[in-house]
């Protein structure tokens, strides 16, 4: 099984690595970061840590796009083109195929952001002479987790879709609903949870509301980022954000596999 997964992942990675679209999107992320660094909006930044704080905002919005693009066609693309019949005409299980896809798309994301974070490090060192290694390492770790979550969700959603169009709808829906729209709608969700708990005589505190907010991947990331810059005061919500990211990355692919296992592939 492990050997099968690695072989499938290697083969898929080889195919993805040659995709221009993906590297275009990774390049776009790099460009956003460079623009931010070079723009006057950040002229009052005086330390590398402050620069990373600025980069966090861009990362929260743009990084999921890159990760989702890396993953959303992983399975659905093969179903639409018909390559899946070649892959599953061979004696591999569907679980191995999906696991291989998760692995290769994760590796793609790691490679892409590894390069982007490397560039950010060079820029920061160039501008400020030194970077706090602890802050930088934590920033890379939390941001990478965020990227892997989005890639895993995209692969999981891809396993639910039989066509490119459907995969695109699901991935777009996830990005808008789970990331962007959540920033607008989170207070309504918090209000709803507060009323619901109120009906049972339980009062939702402001710190409790922060947990509710961190359920979405993007807010989960923004909560978890507190561990990067102020680990001493980050508190439980930041760890809850980490947990939220992990949960999304596990649950959605699991649901995807549950449907893909018995899906009609031809």
């Amino acid at each position: 099984m492990t050997g099968d997964v690695l072989r499938i992942a290697r083969n898929d990675f080889l195919n993805v690595r040659r995709s221009r679209l993906l590297w275009g999107v990774v390049g776009a992320y790099g460009l956003f970061v460079a623009l931010l660094v070079g723009s006057s909006a950040t002229s009052d930044i005086t330390s590398a840590t402050q620069l990373l704080v600025g980069v966090t905002g861009v990362t929260a919005v743009v990084l999921p796009v890159v990760a989702i693009v890396a993953g959303y066609l992983a399975v659905a693309g093969e179903r639409e083109s018909g390559t899946i019949t070649v892959r599953l005409g061979l004696p591999d299980s569907r679980l191995a195929v999906l696991a291989g896809k998760l692995l290769s798309r994760s590796a793609t994301v790691l490679l892409g952001f590894g390069m982007a974070f490397g560039v950010a490090l060079v820029l920061a060192v160039g501008m400020f002479g030194a970077v706090d290694p602890g802050v930088y390492a934590r920033f890379v770790a939390v941001s990478t987790l965020f990227a892997l979550t989005n890639a895993a969700v995209a692969v999981g959603l891809s396993a639910l879709a039989a066509t490119r169009a459907r995969a695109m709808t699901l991935a777009g829906g996830f990005y808008v609903g789970g990331n962007v729209l959540w920033l607008v709608a989170e207070r309504y969700v918090v209000d709803a949870v507060r009323s619901l708990l109120g009906a049972f005589g339980v009062d939702l505190s402001d710190s409790g509301a922060a947990f509710v907010t961190a359920i979405s991947p993007m807010e989960g990331y923004l909560s978890a980022v507190k561990l990067v810059f102020a680990p001493a005061t980050a508190g439980a919500v930041a760890w809850f954000g980490i947990g939220s990211l992990v949960a999304w990355g596990v649950v959605v692919p699991t649901v995807g596999y549950w449907r893909f296992r018995t899906a009609e592939l031809a």
Binding site: N11, T83, V86, L88, G89, D92
Partner: protein
Amino acid sequence: MTAIQTRDLTKRYGDVVALDGLDLTVREGEVFGFLGPNGAGKSTTINILLGLSTPTDGSGQVLGHDIESESRAVRERIGLLPDRYEPYERLTAREHLEYAIAAKDTADDADALLDRTGLAPEARDRVAGDYSKGMRQRLALAMALVGEPDLLVLDEPSSGLDPAGIAEMRELLREEAADGTTVFFSSHHLSEVEAVCDRVGILRAGRLTTVDTIEGLRERLQSESTVTLAVDSLPDIDLTESPGVSSVTPTDSGLRVACTASAKATVVRRVAEATTVRDVAIDDASLDDLFAALTAEADEPAPRRSKEGDSQRREVDA
């Protein structure tokens, strides 16, 4: 042991019956042609055998393994050339084959396989996205041959190949069959399968209407000749009394007589005795005509399957 055995295999998509109680037996070592017009259910059958699609009803075994619960064991021992297939467009032929060889854990040589299916050496390290349909087909066929499978399942293998390519493919199928490999392939051209097949199964609207050898199909043809005569005046004789004549139809210039092959000469002689014959045309139905007749009503909805469900030897009703 039988290579393929299905019992009452049925596939419904909502109200549409794609496959209607298929009872199919393919013996080990034979070359079996699976014929039918587009939409008859050929690919549906193959996809179910491969575990890509789940039957609504019925069961099947391939090389002794259950197609649903032992799909991986089935796929270990077969080579597949899918119908609606695309290669990975950013991978080369060699990378495709190396993947299949690793998946089947065999020691095949990619170049040797591509030599057999005739993909030019200079194309093997180019990405498959640039390949023509014929080259893709040669690549897919090479992948199907990986691991010396006991059963080759080929869905429309000649599609995209030019006549020379089709001839090469036939030769390759003969070689495989000579090695003892069972070959199961689908086609919508009878002429394609008659050259290589031991037996032919004809699928129409999801039902197997005929299973026979090529010789058996030819024998059926013996009863189907048409003699068209141009005559000065319609003869005053009753040809339907002659043995072997099934129908007589007057035409603008004479008569059209449907009869057995052996009755043709008598028909012509009797008409010539009664009137002046200006022209004679004899049309012996070809295998393609028979196939067309056997599959003519493919557009009709599939009839309800009888309780007995044994459609395998059902006589042709077209």
